[in-house]
């Protein structure tokens, strides 16, 4: 441990070639348990998409499987790249994602009342999804470079706050309340893990509360309606409260063990909206009951535990922040989606990771877990805090 400082102070890439691993070592270092867990969750997703199409591979399951295969390759590719590569290009990746966000804002296609997609002909990409992992990457790099004293000062925090708020504001303009909230949550989690003093959260929180009336003015009518509907969903069962009420009926009627695969009446008779995307967890809960729902939550829980284990074992701050940032963003996805479909929070468009039908979200999430795997492979790599010049 004596050479820790020295190593940290040195350009690691140049001097520490002993820390580079061969491809074989890297592949062996991949946490295959985590890969298996993710595949298992995706498998649940395939089954639900098969059911959502009333027992057909088309149109969702087959394409989702293809995406997962691509995503899996992307994840493994990301994993075996050196962690220092990602450190070096973190900001560039952030800028790339940011540029895409600006592009949709200007040129984006209109969909679901919000500009969210870039149509590339063959497929559509959703820059806000890419932004979620880009933000984690950029913040991890920023805080990695910040020493403990600097974190205690207010001034260095303005840059990362800008990193969070700028894309969040852009996404809000789309308008996409859910993703903007996700970006804020991810940002807050990163700040929290980096060691930002708690009173600063309190101050920002109070400022945020003060901004609610102002923000209310900026919300679109349909967004206001969602919040109001959340407060009393059963007041208007055929209007805006319909979706959430039908979702709760599907949940409740599923009972403990569910109605059986392909037997969900709420789902298959179209009472449940968006059953292949945002409300897919409802369909699972209807067909497999509370037991099925808890098993899936358990699988997510295990993934999160894996993320924690990898983060705690990492010997560099970048890796820790990156691993927990990605893990936390998975948690936020899961929590917001499931809480939403169960009527705990307002209806926001957040998919259930690896399960909901959707390309970009699946690819970016798997890419994010590629980072986590990379953190695991390179857990012993020591990356100096102040080395701006390493390979």
């Amino acid at each position: 441990m004596t050479n820790w400082l020295m190593l940290a102070g040195k350009p690691v890439g140049a001097s520490g070639r002993q820390e580079d691993k061969s491809l074989g070592e890297k592949i062996r270092g991949i946490s295959w348990g985590l890969v298996l867990l993710l595949t298992a969750i995706a498998g649940v997703g395939f089954a639900m998409l098969y059911s959502a199409a009333s027992g057909h591979f088309e149109p969702w399951m087959s394409r989702q499987m293809m995406r997962f295969a691509i995503g899996l390759l992307l994840m493994l590719g990301v994993a075996i790249l050196d962690l220092r590569f990602w450190l070096r290009y973190a900001y560039l990746f952030y800028l790339f994602a940011f540029a895409l966000l600006v592009f949709v804002e200007v040129e984006g296609q209109i969909g679901m009342g919000a500009q969210r997609w870039i149509d590339l002909g063959a497929f559509q990409i959703q820059p806000s999804e890419i932004m979620k992992i880009a933000l984690v990457l950029a913040l991890a790099r920023y805080f990695h470079r910040l020493d403990f004293d600097a974190i205690g000062k207010p001034l260095p925090l303005f840059v990362p706050i800008g990193l969070v708020l700028t894309p969040a504001g852009l996404v809000l303009l789309q308008p996409d309340l859910g993703t903007a909230g996700m970006l804020l949550l991810i940002g807050a989690a990163m700040f929290f893990l980096a060691g930002v003093k708690l009173w600063k959260f309190v101050v920002v929180g109070l400022l945020g509360l003060g901004a609610i009336p102002v923000g209310w003015e900026f919300l679109r009518d349909y967004q206001r309606q969602r919040v109001l509907t959340f407060l009393n969903p059963e007041s208007d069962p055929l209007g805006s409260g319909y979706h959430i009420l039908q979702s709760k009926i599907a949940f409740g009627s599923g009972g403990v063990f569910g109605k059986g695969f392909l037997m969900g009446t709420q789902s298959h008779l179209n009472f449940l909206p968006e059953r292949q995307t945002d409300f897919i967890f409802t369909m699972l809960a209807e067909e497999f009951g509370m037991a099925g729902g808890l098993v899936l939550l358990g699988l997510y829980g295990l993934v999160i535990l894996y993320g924690y284990a990898i983060a705690m074992r990492s010997r560099n701050q970048f890796g820790r922040l990156l691993a927990l940032g990605i893990t936390s963003s998975l948690f936020f996805y899961v929590f917001i989606n499931t809480a939403m479909v169960m009527g705990l929070i307002p209806v926001v468009g957040v998919p259930l990771p690896l399960i909901s039908y959707g390309g970009t979200a699946m690819l970016t999430l798997l890419m994010g877990f590629g980072f986590v795997l990379s953190v695991n492979i390179h857990r012993d790599t020591r990356i100096g805090q102040h080395s701006f010049d390493e390979g």
């Binding site: 403990f148 989690a189 009926i249 009446t265 008779l269 939550l297």
Partner: protein
């Protein structure tokens, strides 16, 4: 390095806090699932069932109406229509063209179909054409494989095979009106029909049956996925009427020559209405499909009131037919049959002169003679001696002055006046002259043909309060056995309470009625039944609807033929047969027909003869009638 350790320690601590928070939030998710899926599971399960299950009503087929022998008088017809379901065909135009080869579809219809397909959901059947003939239906069914999306739907419609021949008894059905809604969802079904008049209305609940239902699974937009369960309900009961349909047709036909009138045939022993005709009539089938405004206007604007069952709803002064009541009331008050009156052609009361219908007068008459000649002066005298209250009391015993309680809607009560009645309704005292007028069935007295038939039946059956009905009672298929049919058996009496008359008094009236048609001097001798054993007893009546002034009387009373229709006399006739053992009673009223014996008499005679010729009792070996009947 110190800072780095500090950083790591902070990270570890904060990661733990974050992990704890996540654990708590996961716990909240699990708790919410427990709440929804265990605590509230039953409530939501019920809501899910309500979501997916739709109850559809299946209208029960309406019961048929039959005559006493089971001949159908009102039935249900299948009305076939061809419909297209857009979502079941890939090529709507092609399908319609293929259908067009079997069934011509004109351009307008084609455009309408295309428009409806555009407007409605793809699974809603759209009617292409209605009222298809059976051969067309068969052709479409045979070609079904080439006609995707095309199907045949059957709908029930009410049919009356005899058309207007029994329209007033049977009534008709029609769409449910706002006022008829009771909350029963069956009534709100499109196309559901309820009885609007006659038997259809009276026995509507029995004929209607009870609705079945079908539980179907539907999706969020209401498309039927499958049927879960089905209860076919209870079809409406068939209803046997007391009508003898061939006799009914005969009556209706016999009346058809007259402008407006009605006739009732009643079994004097059982009260069964064997026929009930009213003219002009209407076709009740038209009401089921719905009348056009013009058709409706012409029906209700007709001065001969075709929709009215005049046997129940027509009220007429009974004229001389009422004299049988006066004769009975007089005897009950102690005036014997030998009481004689000299008729000079008129009588006077105070300064007023009351004329007999026969200007020259009848001379000396006793009670039977008074009835036989229908002498007005004789009955002026009887009425004056008996008093209006005693006459009214006797008339009410025979069913006049209030509804007789027939099981058909729309019966009117008529009027039997007495002192109390005049005081109450006109606020005036009774004048003695009015008693005289009442004595010949004029003045305030109003009766319906049904009441006259019941009165006649109660005389014919020996004074029993027979009550009329149109629903056949009991399980018998033919006519009920005549109480005296079996000479060896005990004589059965009608199953009704006695009116408490002295048999001899009734005997005088029956003898009088017998002589009306069977004595050469009788007013109805010309229309007597000559077939031995089938003879009828009768009473004619002519009721004046206008006042004959003194000057007209001096100048000569104008003949009915010279008067406008509305001012002519009503022609009335009551009778029963056979005289020896009465079985059938009839009442005929021809509105503004003229003289009772001349106009109503032949109709009544023909009806009574036809009724006896159709009588299955003639087959009985001991029956008096059987020997006389033509084989």
């Amino acid at each position: 390095m110190q800072q780095d350790k500090e950083l790591y320690r902070t990270f570890g601590r904060r990661a733990a806090i974050l992990a704890g928070t996540k654990a708590v939030l996961f716990g909240a998710l699990a708790a919410r699932m427990y709440y929804l899926q265990v605590v509230e599971a039953d409530r939501y399960a019920l809501l899910a069932e309500e979501n997916r299950i739709n109850l559809r009503l299946l209208p029960p087929p309406r019961g048929r109406i039959l005559d006493r022998f089971g001949l159908p008088l009102a039935t249900n017809d299948q009305n076939f229509r061809v419909v297209v379901v857009a979502e079941q065909t890939d090529d709507l135009e092609g399908t319609l063209q293929a259908l067009g080869r079997l069934l011509p579809i004109d351009v307008l219809n084609h455009d309408r179909i295309r428009k409806e397909v555009g407007k409605k959901r793809a699974f809603v059947p759209i009617t292409v054409q209605e009222d298809l003939d059976w051969p067309v239906v068969a052709r479409i069914e045979v070609n079904a494989p080439d006609l995707p999306g095309i199907s045949i739907e059957a709908e029930q419609s009410r049919n009356y095979p005899f058309g207007g021949a029994a329209a007033h008894v049977l009534g008709y059905v029609g769409a449910v009106s706002e006022a008829e809604l009771t909350g029963d969802p069956l009534l709100e079904l499109p196309g559901f029909r309820v009885g609007k008049s006659g038997v259809e209305k009276q026995y509507d609940m029995a004929l209607r049956g009870s609705a079945g239902n079908s539980q179907v699974e539907v999706n969020a937009v209401g498309r039927v996925i499958r049927e879960l369960s089905r209860d076919d309900g209870k079809p409406g009961q068939d209803l046997y009427t007391s009508l003898d349909m061939p006799l009914q047709s005969f009556v209706q036909q016999r009346l058809a020559a007259e402008l407006s009138g009605s006739a009732v045939v009643i079994d004097v022993m059982t009260g069964e209405i064997l026929a009930m005709g009213s003219t002009p009539t209407f076709d009740p089938t038209l009401f089921d499909r719905g009348l056009t405004s013009a058709e409706w206007q012409s029906l209700i604007g007709d001065k001969f009131r075709p929709l009215s069952n005049k046997t129940l709803g027509g009220q007429y002064a009974p004229g001389s037919t009422f004299k049988v009541m006066v004769a009975l009331a007089a005897q009950a008050s102690g005036i014997g049959p030998d009481h004689t009156v000299f008729c000079p052609g008129f009588t006077t009361l105070g300064n007023a002169r009351f004329h007999c219908w026969k200007k020259e007068g009848h001379g000396q008459l006793n009670m039977v003679g008074g009835l036989r000649h229908s002498c007005d002066v004789y009955f002026y005298d009887l009425a004056r001696r008996t008093g209006i209250d005693a006459i009214a009391e006797m008339a009410r015993r025979f069913g006049l002055g209030r509804p007789v309680g027939l099981d058909l809607p729309g019966e009117r009560p008529g009027v039997i006046p007495d002192r109390a009645w005049k005081e109450a309704f006109l606020g005036d005292i009774w004048h003695p002259g009015e008693t005289l007028v009442a004595g010949i069935g004029q003045g305030f007295i109003q009766t319906t043909p049904l009441q006259l038939a019941v009165m006649c039946a109660r005389i014919a059956n020996g004074g029993y309060a027979v009550e009329p009905h149109v629903q056949r009672q009991g399980e018998f298929m033919g006519l009920p056995a005549h109480p005296e049919a079996d000479a060896n058996g005990p004589v059965e009496l009608p199953p009704f309470p006695s009116l408490g008359l002295v048999p001899e008094h009734l005997g005088i009236v029956i003898e009088g009625m017998n002589e009306v048609s069977n004595d050469p001097r009788g007013t109805a001798y010309r229309v007597r039944i000559e077939a031995p054993g089938m003879e009828m007893a009768a009473k004619t009546g002519t009721s004046q609807v206008r006042r004959i002034t003194m000057s007209e009387r001096l100048a000569g009373v104008r003949k009915n033929e010279d008067l406008p229709w509305e001012q002519r006399d009503h022609a009335l006739f009551i009778g029963f047969a056979p005289v020896q053992s009465p079985r059938y009673a009839v009442a005929v009223v021809i509105e503004h027909g003229g003289g009772g014996s001349k106009i109503a008499g032949p109709i009544a005679r023909d009806i009574l003869l036809e009724a006896q010729l159709r009588d299955p009792a003639r087959r009985r070996p001991n029956g008096a009638v059987s020997k006389m009947a033509p084989a």
